[in-house]
């Protein structure tokens, strides 16, 4: 069986590092792993997305529509955008903090209301939406950059086949030592959120 984790976010939120840590944790847990990051021009505030796939043997790094077990959305609108990749019964970990895109800033479009409802409630495929304002959680911890760590902690609670030890080692391998304690704290906080 291959587990599919889809990621969506905004350029600059650290999606590539998030993909790296998740894949490292799965790899340390003994799985074959493939990932992809699609960044394009999006270092500058555009949409970015990625995938992590792990299992006994993984061929393609890409996740097909409707086949993601989990969607990790670092921003609300991006959660909505990629929700079509989630399978029925899948989980959406949603950071509800909003980053307005250009059409919203220029008042040509409204930021969609009730994104949680839009994701959960189209009736055709039920998904388990676990929403949190990770930005506010990060603010409480004193560093806004740990948004992805909070959501990664939430993800770790869903992926039961990867042990806590593997997650910690993966985080240690990818974050700078001086921010390690803070990152682990944010991860632990996310892991406790149900």
């Amino acid at each position: 069986m291959v587990r599919n984790i889809m990621l969506g976010g905004v350029g600059g939120q650290g999606l590539v590092m998030t993909t790296a840590i998740i894949s490292e944790a799965a790899f340390l847990a003994g799985f074959d792993v493939k990932t992809n990051d699609v960044i394009g021009l999006s270092q500058r505030g555009g949409k970015v997305w990625g995938s992590v796939r792990y299992g006994e043997e993984v061929f393609s790094p890409n996740i097909a529509p409707g086949r993601a077990d989990v969607l990790l959305a670092l921003e609300a609108l991006e959660g909505l955008r990629w929700s079509g990749y989630v399978r029925a019964g899948g989980v959406v970990i949603l950071n509800t903090a909003k980053i307005p895109p250009v059409p919203v800033i220029t008042e040509k479009a409204a930021y969609p209301e009730d994104i949680e409802g839009l994701i959960a409630g189209d009736g055709q495929r039920e998904v388990d939406v676990r929403a949190i304002n990770a930005l506010e959680e990060a603010r409480k911890l004193g560093n806004l950059k740990v948004v992805n760590m909070v959501t990664m902690g939430m993800l770790s609670a869903v992926l039961e086949d990867i042990s806590l030890d593997c997650w910690r080692k993966a985080i240690e391998a990818h974050v700078p030592e001086k921010t390690l304690a803070l990152n682990l704290k944010a991860f632990d906080l996310g892991r406790e959120i149900r």
Partner: protein
């Protein structure tokens, strides 16, 4: 040996290292930027540089290869166009140290101006082309490329598509090969490429491709995988061994219960893995080398099948090669010629071809909602320049860099983007044509410092030839000391912003030496001063150059105290919003009926531009209420002393 997760870029870099590579050069461009950055991690055992452009990078690689050192040159697909000139002649020489050209391809154009298929260029340059589909293959094929290059005396192309460059997978690390180099062999007949020396080289190039074609039929990087009930079996199931482990392809014997299989799919790279996801009842022939093809192996193999399909992205390259050798197959009839071919699209093609009965995959995943396009970062020094140009209702000839984003909404003011450095030549051609037709109009072009050094300098110099002294041309050089679009590599001006960089070229001094009469340097965070200067040059009936001085906010991690809007003073005019800065948005304040501007303090980096465009001084730096704020940090003063047109500027 340790197995580690690596991206394709990291794995190719590892392959270079393990193969005993000595010199690596590149020009930054997606998807191969991180490859050279990964090679750097192996310094000082190896030398790595981002060269000034791809042609220079290729020449650096040629020099290293001439001494017998293994050299790797990496660039994005369009970069190879710049490097084609030296490549086309270098390929005639008997390659000494293994030479690997990594061509990063971008099917689907996630970050490129076109979708060209460089397999065509590899064939054109008489190279062998290897096409890895995973990180492990990226490493193995890089190493194989070096030995093929030396064994057959040709440069080798390692073609890596964007997802292969960026995706991660497990890679086995091996020791670095210890290699000695022979030194420069000094044989003009081999390396001095003028006629008559070039005459025998044509035959040598032909012969080496023929030898490769013949030998490739036996290599296990080209293998057949047969479908048996619900299990796939690799027929040549031997450990990967590039040269020594040659085998002939084994086929099912006619006595085999599964003989004959119906459909054979010939494919390569990542598409092999995307195809395997489908578990389709087909046999697969995976090509590790896509040029030249193992024609004889394939010719006899296809006889066993009723249907032969070629699965490849972009052009029908393999398909046409096979057809030109009289091997019947179909490919583009069923699979798109543009974009990436993900599993669900491959399935749709196989349904169309009658291989599969019906599609099990969904094809629509992305929900249609509010678009999120890229925009200039908070504090980006390009923002005030485009705001000023927009206010002057000027349409601009653009170039390649972050400022290319001005072609998109809401700025929507770059009219052309073609290729690196093209803006200046285009401006000249337009000017000449319009002037001859009596339709002369003021023309403005913009270019960044990295692009200017890459290939803008030559176009600039060419402006001075047969210059119409009264043609109103303005060239704006957006000098931010950074190759920013590709993630913040250094340029020839970075040394004026950071002591960590060894190049500190003065663009104004350079332009002066080239003979430009009117060069002006502005600090664009002094909005009013910059606006006055730019407007003066826009009106000037002649050629003028304006260079801006503020460094890339992202790369130099510039963060000053944030700005706040006083909603009681704000008149809701949206002057600040129109600068299109990520933290600035109209907001409904409590107790105020009209929408007023707001600034997200989490995102604001304090550049002050919004406060300077505000007509009613409603925006001030936090803790600085009531005073109009000015930019805090000044750029290097050596850049700003030249505030007025330099001597001789008045015409």
């Amino acid at each position: 040996m340790e197995v580690k997760l690596m991206t394709g870029n990291e794995a190719a870099a590892r392959g270079f290292y393990e193969a005993g590579g000595l010199v690596a050069s590149s020009y930054p461009g997606s998807p191969t930027v991180e490859l050279l950055e990964a090679v750097r991690a192996y310094a000082p055992e190896v030398y790595a540089e981002f060269s000034v452009n791809e042609k220079v990078a290729l020449e650096v690689g040629i020099g290293a290869s001439f001494t017998g050192a293994r050299a790797m040159v990496s660039m994005k697909h369009v970069g190879v166009n710049i490097a084609m000139d030296p490549l086309m002649t270098f390929t005639q020489t008997p390659i000494q140290g293994g030479f690997l050209l990594v061509s990063g391809e971008d099917p689907g154009m996630m970050s490129s101006q076109n979708e060209q298929d460089n397999r065509v260029l590899g064939k054109f340059a008489n190279m062998a082309i290897l096409d890895p589909g995973s990180s492990q293959e990226a490493k193995d094929f890089a190493k194989l490329g070096f030995s093929l290059s030396e064994d057959y005396g040709l440069p080798v192309m390692l073609r890596m598509t964007s997802p292969v460059c960026h995706s991660r997978g497990p890679v086995e690390e091996l020791e670095r090969e210890v290699r000695d180099i022979a030194g420069f062999s000094k044989i003009p007949e081999d390396f001095g490429m003028v006629p008559p020396n070039t005459f025998p080289k044509q035959f040598e190039m032909k012969k080496r491709i023929e030898r490769l074609t013949e030998d490739a039929s036996g290599w296990d990087i080209n293998f057949l995988e047969v479908w048996e009930e619900d299990e796939r079996k690799k027929v040549s199931d031997t450990p990967f061994h590039p040269i020594n482990g040659r085998q002939t392809v084994q086929r099912l014997a006619p006595s085999d219960p599964f003989f004959p299989p119906k459909t054979l799919i010939i494919t390569s790279g990542l598409l092999y893995y995307n195809l395997k996801e489908l578990e389709a009842p087909v046999d697969i022939y995976k090509l590790g080398m896509v040029y030249p093809l193992p024609i004889e192996a394939l010719r006899s193999l296809v006889e066993d099948y009723e249907q032969v399909l070629v699965l490849e992205e972009l052009t029908p390259f393999i398909e046409n090669e096979l057809k030109s050798h009289g091997i019947q197959c179909e490919g583009k009839k069923y699979f798109s010629f543009t974009g990436e071919l993900h599993t669900e699209l491959i399935e749709a093609g196989l349904v169309k071809a009658g291989v599969l009965g019906s599609a099990k995959y969904e094809t629509a995943g992305e929900v249609d909602t509010v678009a999120r396009i890229s925009m200039f970062c908070a504090g980006c020094p390009h923002r005030p320049v485009f705001d000023i140009l927009k206010k002057n209702k000027i349409s601009v000839i653009g170039d390649i860099g972050c400022y290319s984003l001005a072609v998109l909404e809401p700025l929507h003011m770059l009219n052309t983007i073609i290729s690196m450095g093209a803006t200046i030549g285009i401006m000249k051609g337009m000017s000449k044509a319009l002037s001859l037709s009596g339709k002369a109009e003021p023309l403005v072009s913009v270019i960044g410092d990295g692009t200017f050094f890459h290939s803008g300098m030559t176009g600039a110099l060419n402006l001075l030839h047969q210059l119409d002294s009264n043609a109103n041309l303005t060239l704006i050089i957006l000098n931010n000391g950074t190759t920013a679009m590709t993630g913040g590599q250094m340029t020839a001006t970075s040394g004026s912003y950071t002591k960590d960089w060894d190049m500190n070229t003065s663009i104004p001094e350079l332009l002066k030496a080239m003979g430009f009469p009117r060069v002006r340097v502005v600090d664009q965070f002094d909005y009013k001063g910059a606006k006055a200067a730019i407007e003066e040059e826009l009106k000037f009936e002649g050629l003028s150059i304006v260079m801006t001085t503020r460094p890339c906010a992202l790369n130099f991690k510039i963060r000053e105290p944030y700005f706040v809007v006083d909603p009681q003073i704000c008149i809701g005019c949206r002057s600040c919003v129109k600068t299109n800065c990520p933290p600035i948005i109209m907001k409904q304040y409590e107790g105020i009926e009209k929408l007023k501007s707001s600034i997200d303090p989490d995102l604001c980096v304090g550049c002050s531009v919004c406060s300077q465009v505000c007509p009613v001084s409603a925006i001030s730096r936090v803790g600085d209420k009531g005073r109009v704020a000015k930019a805090v940090s000044k750029p290097d003063t050596t850049l700003t002393e030249n505030k007025t047109p330099s001597e001789g500027g008045k015409q």
